[in-house]
Assembly symmetry: D2
Homo-oligomer: 298 residues x 4
């Protein structure tokens, strides 16, 4: 749907919303408290051409109202899981304003653990480094997709990784190796087959996270590409309700330092951990019978 | 093209490469030196299923060789513009390895100015904050797209901006205003109609950058959406060789501080510049006769 | 010691070195691997005026050689703890070059856990968010100080925190409260009484970290200042070999969102987690009989 | 002044305040607007032991009131320069609460330029990358210090830099060179001899910034240490009202890429710009007759 103002220029797809709403929700069961720590980003699409073309805002639900809704709905409904809360938000935005026909909710969730050894049941420490992510798309006509994921899960193998037999062009000088450190910061997202609310999302997430880590650990790797496939395959095979997974794996190079100038060997003991450049391996795996759904990932 | 290993899991699209190769190129004309400062990211696609499925790397051009090529080609051909250098790199990768059928080169370029008042002609200071970007896609069959752009061009109007007449739902509490500060960090990318090497890329970039800034400055704004349209329209109308522009504009809220508790007025003099959350307005404008090309932007 | 070149300008204190050497050390006990992941920064002082005044580098131990030494010493001696490795490095730099009279080694250490559920004993996942720190100063005359610490240990109490009864000036509008969320990112450093190698540094660190967390959790807080004192006191009383502690505690404000405009109460359930500004509380606690040592902290 | 609660633990120096108050001040001369963009951090010291020891906050000026004061004073007095505004704030905090005896104000200022080519006089673009800094300390007894500075002024020479004749230990492998790229991100701070309000702070800053840049550019460098001295000396000699300067110069290594494996020379044309590790050179220069004042810098 393109909106035209002059003969030469047309307005194509747009979206708008409030990004990075920081929201912490506390629930209490007597002295036993629980905590959800989320960053919520709202993006809406619909009949929005007029504000672009003329500045007439009559169809614009303000991003301020979007932010308010995030807080108000958390108060009214709680936050069971990031997935359920995101679905709830899409429902709200698709009904609160008739000029909105599509809602996209992206959530980041940060893990907190109880402080070990504390007497209090209201004390927490930020756990882990990785961030749990959720992306929900929903249309006013009822179509919905749910993509869960994680970012910055940093893993490393000190053995069980090789890299050799590669193609050699005129600029290839890399030495082949049968023993290297393999490290990456996993960025994984997986699309659920059914965007229904009856999934146990926390359990699904925990299983997916474990599958990614153990596949990384226990795959004897001939290339990071192979490891990527193994991780994706493990994810898909352990949960038939996941249709597709997208993995982005930076190859965080650990170079064995050349200590020969100092009369020292270095049998993969001492490494320089490089920042940049880095290899970057990206891949998608899907269940064979799962129809593609490119819009779910954007 | 999907590759299948088991009955249930198929390998979908993949790409791989060396990301964030930091390269500085110095050219000399006697004592008069010039400088190009780039970060180059390479991503390649092709007949790469085997490394994923079996770890057979015979068709893998190593990311290390990709990095070497960036440096070697800069040495051999210089770096006239980021656009030309990116095109050069795609040509190289599409010919150096028969298993590569598509190359994607993303470049960030950082501006340097001569140090004012210096006698030397070899002394530079990093200029501006924005980053110039280039994204080139090229297929082995000759198809090519070029997208130029910039990120983090931070602009602000202290007058000439209103926001009122918007839709009101139950969570709308925002006050309407006829005078607000409007600030954003422009992220703009534009696709060229012809991916040919005969464009004066530096001139094209300078004109696009100026168009974005002056359209922001001189548009009386009733919404950031309207300003976005004005910026895109200005960009397209000033250069008929640009087919399409995509703009991402965070609304960097500047809230007038309520000083009434202290018996002070605040007629838009003193503002709190908020970090998060922020509005986020995204839109695409295209020349009416330009065919879409979604792959060019990815 | 000041070095003079002209009548008007004198060179005061200087130091130089290689900063942020990224080093990963792997040790193996058969299939059982262990990992140390450090960032080491070296800074040296001494008879270095000539390179500043004339560019004569005869007394300059290059920062490149400093970097090499970090890797070579790790290879030769391993990395038992960050403290021991830092002491080892100071010994090296104070003997390898006669023009160096003082060495400062700063270390950041990143935690890794074994991947849970993995069969392999060579697979790790980055653990926690906080960074363990060490700062060692050593003089050629044998004087040495050791400061251990941690940064970015993020903790939060959902109950047990009040703030009222404060001084009120003309700009005080803050409401008093008997129930607020208290959150901070602990930056703590502690100076050891004896800079001797016979401390069990890992055990000392684990106990200090636990003391900080449990004191934060179990102190009923009337101000973050009070909590700071409690944390420092707990640290000092649980280990008599710690002489002094310095704490920097940002008050990561969590504001209960005002939902009254929407007809909703908010009894400390839904919070906005603010980025900036933030309160910042800094304090030092010492054992009564411990002499001060300001140079140890710089 | 140490406060004691138990026989074993004493409370040493403390300070507290509101950090990173983001404040934008707009002033208008008809259609001609001007803009100041500051981040202000307040830290106060005084009779504050009780809140630490008992949680009695009767002597605590809240950090919220400190934040309010930043905005209110900007409204009442405007922001002529960051230095004058910081001095104004110290005066306020030393008089508004009798339990505060020392105030420390740190300011970061971000540069904005008018948008070139814009018709409007209310449109701005963020300029430069460096940040102007101010640090003012003031005591209730009238003592005051003012330190001005800048951070992240990134400069680079493509010629006129050598490094050779250095000390060689067993780990020295660096090649000597008579032609290297020299690049740094200048972090400079300078202490004014008189903390009086009659300085033209903007002019003083502009001259200091120019002195640092031109000294960097026009010094034929045998070491970054020598360049540091030249920069500091230039700063001190061009303004007799500056007593002392502290410079922190990371050596942003640019390594000429070895292209010999590809049959290519590389006569300092193509460089790899490294992130980490980096050399770090720190030094202080002072006017010979200027008394030291270490507290001014903290």
């Amino acid at each position: 749907m393109l909106y035209q103002r002059s003969s030469s220029v047309v307005l194509g797809p747009t979206r708008y919303g409030k990004a990075e709403v920081r929201m912490v929700h506390v629930s209490r069961n007597g002295a036993e408290h629980a905590l959800k720590d989320l960053t919520v980003s709202v993006a809406l699409c619909g009949d929005q051409a007029e504000t672009h073309l003329t500045g007439d805002n009559a169809k614009v639900l303000t991003t301020d109202a979007q932010k308010n809704a995030v807080y108000a709905l958390a108060r009214q409904h709680g936050v069971a899981t990031a997935e359920e809360f995101a679905v709830l938000l899409t429902r709200h935005f698709l009904t609160t304003c008739p000029y909105i026909s599509h809602a996209r909710i992206a959530v980041e969730e940060y893990a907190w653990d109880r402080i070990p050894g504390a007497e209090s049941r209201h004390s927490f420490v930020r756990g882990g480094r990785e961030v749990r992510t959720v992306l929900v798309h929903a249309d006013v006509d009822g179509r919905r997709t749910i993509v869960s994921g994680l970012t910055d899960l940093v893993v490393l193998n000190t053995a069980g990784s090789e890299f050799h037999g590669f193609y050699k062009d005129e600029y290839t000088t890399l030495a082949e190796t049968t023993d290297r450190v393999l490290a990456t910061a996993v960025d994984a997202r997986w699309r659920h087959t059914e965007a229904t609310p009856d999934v146990d999302w926390d359990k699904s997430y925990a299983r997916a996270r474990a599958a990614l880590m153990t596949a990384f650990a226990d795959t004897h790797s001939l290339s990071l590409q192979q490891t990527l496939y193994a991780m994706g395959e493990r994810l898909l095979t352990q949960d038939e309700r996941i249709a597709e997974v997208r993995l982005t794996l930076p190859n965080r190079h650990h170079f064995a330092v050349d200590l020969a100038p100092f009369g020292l060997s270095n049998d993969n003991e001492v490494f320089y951990a490089a920042d940049r450049p880095y290899g970057l391996i990206e891949g998608t795996l899907a269940r064979g019978d799962a129809p593609a759904d490119p819009g779910a990932w954007e």
